[in-house]
C-alpha cells in the first residue's frame, strides 16, 4: 500500500440527514480520502437503506449501538488492519471544509516532528470555536510550541472525534479507543494517551464545523446520560493518559463540571443520584 493513504472513519447513529451532509462534504474534498468507512451503530432510522444505495462508501454495520467509543474502536480496528497510514476520524455531524483533509496532510508535511495526531480547527455554525472541541494547546512544552508555530502549526495535548487524524503507528503502540466508555471522555482518554509522549498538531487552515443544534457542552444535556460523563471522568482520572499536574487540573475541572451540572439540573435529587451512580461505577474496575 502506498504511503500517506487516508481512511475516513465516520461513526453514526440515527442521524440520517447529518450523515448525508457529512459524507457529501467528504466526497467534495480537494484531496479525497482513499477510502470512506461508515460505522453504523445499529441505526434504526433510514440510515441503513441510504447507505446501501450510496457509492464509494463501505458500511460496517454493528449489531448493537456501541456508542461513539465502540464505533470508533471498530472503525479504527478495520482501517488499521487494512494498512491505511492515516485514520481520519469524524463524528456524523462533522461538516468539513473542502480543503480540510488537504490542509491536514500539508500540516503533516511541514511538521517539525513526526506527528501521531493532527486535527482541524472545529467551529460551530456561527464560526465561533465549538465549546466541545476547543483546542487543547500544549503550552508547557514552550520550545516545541514555538517550533510548531514557526511551521504554522499549534502544538496540542489532546483532541476530539471531530476531524482528527491518527497515524497507524499510534494504533500499533496504543491499541484501540476504550470501547467500554460508550460515550463521552473516550476521545481525550484515547488521544490524550497517545499524545502523552508523542506529538500532535492542530492545523489552522484545516476547518470543520461541528453541526450541533446548539453550541453546547455536555452540561446542556441534563438527561440521565450524564451518568456516562461522570463514570468516564472517574475512569479517565484513574487512567494513565494524564498524570501529575495535568491530572490535578483535570480533576478540578471535573469537579466544577459536576457541580455545575447539579446546579443547573431542574431535578437536583435526580441529578445527584445520577452523579452518585457514575462515581460508584467509575470506582469499579473498568471492563476490558
Amino acid at each position: 500500500m502506498k504511503s500517506s493513504t487516508v481512511c475516513a472513519i465516520v461513526v453514526t447513529y440515527n442521524r440520517h440527514d447529518l450523515l448525508i451532509e457529512c459524507l457529501d462534504r467528504i466526497e467534495r474534498q480537494s484531496r479525497p480520502p482513499d477510502h470512506v468507512l461508515v460505522v453504523d451503530n445499529a441505526s434504526t432510522d433510514e440510515t441503513p437503506e441510504t447507505l446501501a444505495r450510496r457509492e464509494g462508501v463501505e458500511v460496517l454495520r454493528l449489531e448493537e449501538n456501541l456508542g461513539s467509543a465502540g464505533g470508533f474502536a471498530e472503525g479504527i480496528r478495520v482501517a488499521h488492519e487494512r494498512g491505511y497510514e492515516w485514520l481520519w476520524l469524524l463524528d456524523d455531524d462533522t461538516f468539513c471544509d473542502e480543503l480540510c483533509l488537504e490542509a491536514l496532510l500539508d500540516g503533516v508535511k511541514r511538521a517539525p516532528q513526526e506527528p501521531s495526531v493532527v486535527c482541524s480547527v472545529v467551529r460551530w455554525r456561527d464560526e465561533s470555536l465549538h465549546p466541545m472541541n476547543r483546542p487543547w494547546f500544549r503550552f508547557n512544552r514552550r520550545e516545541e510550541f514555538a517550533e510548531a508555530a514557526g511551521a504554522g502549526l499549534a502544538l496540542i495535548r489532546s483532541a476530539t472525534w471531530v476531524s482528527t487524524m491518527v497515524h497507524r503507528r499510534a494504533v500499533d503502540e496504543h491499541g484501540l479507543p476504550p470501547a467500554h466508555f460508550f460515550i463521552w471522555s473516550d476521545d481525550p482518554e484515547y488521544l490524550g494517551g497517545i499524545l502523552r509522549e508523542s506529538t500532535g498538531y492542530m492545523v489552522p487552515e484545516s476547518l470543520a464545523w461541528h453541526w450541533t443544534p446548539e453550541p453546547h457542552d455536555t452540561l446542556t444535556d441534563t438527561r440521565d446520560r450524564f451518568y456516562y460523563r461522570v463514570r468516564n471522568l472517574v475512569w479517565h482520572l484513574r487512567g494513565s493518559s494524564f498524570q501529575g499536574v495535568e491530572r490535578a487540573f483535570r480533576a478540578r475541572a471535573s469537579l466544577r463540571l459536576v457541580s455545575r451540572y447539579v446546579q443547573r439540573s431542574p431535578n437536583k435529587s435526580r441529578a445527584l443520584a445520577t452523579v452518585a451512580r457514575g462515581v460508584r461505577d467509575g470506582l469499579r474496575r473498568p471492563p476490558r
Binding site: R134, E143, A146, A149, G152, L153, P204
Partner: protein, 184 residues
C-alpha cells in the same frame, strides 16, 4: 536606509531606553541585547511582523531555544493563538528583552524599564506593559543567540511578578530557578 534602527542596550543602559531610541532616524527600532548575536535573517523575519512588537527567539550556541528567555504565551484568546500560528508566530504576555522590533513612539510613550526595582527582570516587566498596550508576538524564524541566562534575585522575581501579573505557576518556577542559582 534601513527599515529599522538597531539599538543595542545592556544591563547598565536598559533604564535609559528613551535616550537610546530618541535619536533613531526610523519609526521602527530593533532593540538588541549587547550580549546577543542575531542570526543573519533575524531582522527580516521580524519585519514580516512589522510594526510589531515582535520578538526574536533566544537560542543557545547549539540553536536550542532558551526556555527562561522565551517569555509566556498569551493564552487568553484561542482564536488569536490559531491566527498567530497561521502567521507563524506566538502571541505573548511578556518576554525577556533580547531582540525586539517595536515602534519608536511606542517605546517613548511607556515609562522605561526599571532595573533598580526589577533587576534582571526589568526587560520582562517592561515588555509586559508594552504588550498590554499593543499585542506582541514571538517570531520563531527570527533567532538570536544568547550566551548566558542568569537568574535574578528572589526579591526581583516577586516584584516583577506582582507588577506584570505573572501567574502563580510561572512565579514559582522562576523563584525556584532564582533560589537554585543562588545556592550554586
Amino acid at each position: 536606509m534601513s527599515e529599522a534602527t538597531q539599538v543595542r542596550f545592556d544591563a547598565g543602559t536598559l533604564g535609559s531606553l528613551h535616550e537610546l531610541v530618541g535619536d533613531a532616524p526610523t519609526p521602527l527600532v530593533w532593540l538588541v541585547d549587547a550580549g546577543a548575536t542575531p542570526s543573519e535573517d533575524a531582522l527580516a523575519a521580524l519585519l514580516e511582523h512589522a510594526p510589531g512588537p515582535a520578538a526574536g527567539l533566544p537560542v543557545d550556541a547549539q540553536g536550542r531555544p532558551i526556555k527562561p528567555l522565551m517569555g509566556r504565551v498569551d493564552e487568553s484568546d484561542q482564536d488569536a493563538i490559531l491566527d498567530a500560528a497561521r502567521r507563524r508566530c506566538v502571541p505573548l504576555r511578556h518576554i525577556q528583552l533580547t531582540s525586539l522590533l517595536v515602534e519608536r513612539e511606542l517605546v517613548l510613550e511607556l515609562a522605561p524599564p526599571d532595573p533598580q526595582r526589577f533587576g534582571w527582570y526589568a526587560g520582562a516587566e517592561w515588555s509586559g506593559r508594552l504588550f498590554d498596550r499593543r499585542k506582541g508576538v514571538l517570531v520563531p524564524a527570527s533567532r538570536v543567540r544568547v550566551g548566558a541566562c542568569p537568574a535574578g534575585s528572589p526579591a526581583h522575581v516577586l516584584r516583577a511578578a506582582r507588577s506584570a501579573r505573572w501567574r502563580s505557576g510561572e512565579t514559582v518556577r522562576e523563584l525556584h530557578r532564582s533560589v537554585r542559582s543562588r545556592l550554586g
